[in-house]
């Protein structure tokens, strides 16, 4: 089939809606030994019913982080709302440290979510906000409440309003299907943005969160596409002979680091200027050089190379005449680096006691520690707050997603009813 015919086929298929499937279920597998007790009182609804239990969404978010333990509603001695008097002694009695109360008020075609956060010990009101919410966006408003509570108590931004992209694989050859899915960070609202019978790999969010770059093998060759999420419009930005892989956006969103191969099969890292499509070759070595990741300064790339025999992570400055410097030294296998938002840590796939696990590497000292305990953990992606990574692992022979706190304290698993889920990518913070 010609490219034109294929394009027409794609257009024809646009008539179909995204099937909502492969929804994920979250389970905390290891929490803090002493999570912070917090009571989220059911939000009063002045005119009901409303489609979302805001307090429940907030409680789920905070518990999913592993750092909080919600108070059972049945134990609450009272259910105060903002603006009314309540007795802090009732809450001290229940040994809860923090209290969230709120209400949802209809406001024309909109809703307004009002909430307050109290320190139960001191009685201090830590937060008091009113969030307007468009119809259908109440859940987003609830995630915003979670973000604000999390940040006020822990001092780091929450990541509850973010999204994840992942690849869902179902069926077996020759009927295997690959779907690129975008969902809320809690796994809800999954939306298929690409559906193919050929592999899809390596989704990468643009820094503004509006576009995804990914690798698709449609047409039985690899190519890198950039797809706008709002419109579904996409562009093929690299389709050279051989490998087109591992796209990574520069922090300014103007360039894409990627992996290409020569006709002789030499695999190297390049940087493409997205406006001009000009390519700059970054590495030049007979080894496999791949999996580029940008440092936040936009002037340094980390990448995987097996130039020393086995794969290890290297760093190179994007200036003329620079030579790569090796970054990882512990263990025989360190690959697929991702850089923390502050640039100080890398998360890598590392071979640990015969198993593929995630390691966090301190860039300054080169020291690393293993933060997961699976057998086939791969594809880590930092949350925009740098606190957590999401990654792919296997559970009873199936691909599932999991999260791990960078300090190793908390893990959770996101499982799907169908198929293998892999290659997660955590979105940037949404613009507010």
């Amino acid at each position: 089939m010609t490219d034109l015919l294929r394009s027409l086929f794609v257009l024809a298929c646009l008539a179909l809606c995204a099937p909502a499937h492969a929804q994920l279920t979250v389970q905390i597998t290891r929490g803090m030994t002493a999570p912070i007790p917090i009571a989220i009182v059911p939000f009063a609804v002045t005119q009901g019913p409303i489609p979302v239990d805001v307090a429940q969404v907030v409680e789920n978010d905070l518990e999913r982080s592993g750092r909080f333990q919600g108070l059972e509603r049945g134990s609450m001695l009272e259910q105060p709302v903002p603006g009314t008097r309540f007795d802090l002694a009732n809450w001290r009695l229940l040994k809860t440290d923090y209290l969230v109360i709120g209400r949802v008020v209809p406001d024309g075609q909109q809703w307004t979510v009002q909430f307050e956060l109290y320190n139960v010990l001191t009685g201090e009101r830590l937060l008091g906000y009113s969030l307007p919410s468009a119809p259908g966006a109440l859940k987003q408003a609830a995630h915003r409440v979670s973000d604000m509570v999390y940040e006020k108590i822990l001092g780091v931004p929450g990541a509850f309003s973010t999204r994840i992209a992942y690849v869902a694989v179902s069926g077996v050859a020759p009927q295997r299907r690959y779907r690129l899915v975008v969902a809320d960070a809690d796994g809800e609202n999954p939306r298929v943005i690409l559906d193919s019978r050929e592999p899809i790999m390596s989704p990468a969010w643009s820094p503004d969160g509006d576009r995804l770059a990914y690798v698709s093998f449609e047409g039985q060759m690899s190519a890198i596409y950039v797809q706008e999420l709002r419109t579904g419009r996409r562009e093929r930005v690299s389709a050279r002979a051989g490998i087109n892989g591992a796209p990574a956006w520069s922090p300014d969103g103007r360039r894409l680091a990627l992996t290409l191969s020569s006709r002789e099969g030499n695999v190297d890292v390049y940087v493409m200027d997205l406006a001009s499509r000009d390519l700059l070759r970054i590495t030049d070595d007979a080894a496999i050089d791949t999996e580029p990741a940008w440092a936040p300064d936009g002037r340094t790339l980390y990448f995987t190379s097996d130039r020393a025999g086995r794969p290890q992570v290297y760093r190179i400055a994007l200036a003329a005449g620079q030579r790569p410097a090796r970054v990882t030294f512990e263990g025989p296998y360190n690959a697929r680096p991702r850089v923390s938002p502050d640039g100080r840590q890398l998360v890598v796939v590392t071979l640990d006691q015969g198993a593929y696990r995630l390691g966090v590497v301190d860039v300054a000292t080169g020291r690393s520690r293993v933060i997961t305990n699976g057998r086939l953990d791969e594809g880590p992606s930092f949350a925009p707050n740098g606190q957590t990574v999401i990654y792919a692992t296997r559970e009873r022979g199936r691909g599932v997603l999991a999260t791990a706190a960078v300090d190793g304290s908390v893990t959770s698993r996101l499982t799907s009813e169908v198929g293998d889920i892999r290659e997660p990518a955590w979105s940037p913070q949404p613009r507010t």
Binding site: M1, R6, F9, V10, C13, A15, L16, C17, A18, P19, A20, H21, A22, Q23, L24, T25, V26, I28, N60, E63, A173, P174, R176, Y178, R179, E188, R191, V192, I193, L194, D195, S196, R197, E198, P199, M201, Q220, M221, Q227, L229, T231, G232, I243, G245, A246, T259, E264, G265, I288, T290, E291, T304, P311, V349, Y356, L376, E378, R394, E417, R422
Partner: protein
């Protein structure tokens, strides 16, 4: 600590287009490999398995490891297996490589695609590199036996297209492979 949230358990809605009612302002892009001239059963698209194209479509694939020492090209295996973390073509495939090289050299119209694959372990994009390295190793072996460079292309699928599902050593050993796929123009 092991806490779960039954209230948080969500429905897995099956991919029935009829159910896609709410929240579908945006539509997925659906892509399919082109139907057409592909020969062989590993491509996994409807076009290749439908057998509606040229006379040689749907050529049977010998099981891995069989026919490797057969003299005739049609009997030679089209799957070359590799050791763990290795891109070295094992000596047992010498006669198969020779047979394929002869077959390619004999018909200038023949086009061959070498599809490199790895097992599921390790990082997917690094495995794309490893699969390419394997495909290139088979290509070099074919060139050494006289196959013309212009008739051979390579593609690496890394760990994305296992031939055997599962996480056993046996599955892994079958998935570390290069598949020799004859495209249009074959005799």
């Amino acid at each position: 600590m092991n806490r779960s949230f039954p209230r948080h358990v969500m429905l897995a809605v099956l991919a029935a287009t009829g159910l896609a009612l709410a929240g579908c302002a945006k539509k997925p892009t659906t892509v399919d490999a082109p139907a057409g001239e592909t020969v062989g059963s590993t491509t996994g698209d409807a076009g290749a398995t439908s057998g509606t194209t040229g006379s040689d479509v749907g050529e049977a694939r010998p099981l891995p490891g069989t026919g490797a020492d057969a003299a005739g090209a049609t009997a030679a295996t089209t799957t070359i297996l590799f050791d763990f973390d290795s891109a070295e073509v094992r000596a047992e495939y010498n006669s198969a490589i020779t047979a394929h090289a002869r077959r390619i050299a004999a018909s200038p119209a023949v086009r061959v695609r070498l599809e490199g694959n790895t097992d599921e372990r390790g990082s997917p994009e690094y495995n794309i590199g490893l699969g390419e390295r394997r495909a290139q190793a088979v290509k070099r072996a074919l060139l050494l036996q006289g196959a013309p460079d212009a008739q051979i292309t390579t593609v690496s699928y890394g760990e994305e297209r296992p031939s055997v599902e599962g996480g056993s050593e046996e599955a892994w050993s079958q998935n570390r492979r290069v598949e020799i796929v004859y495209l249009g123009g074959g005799r």
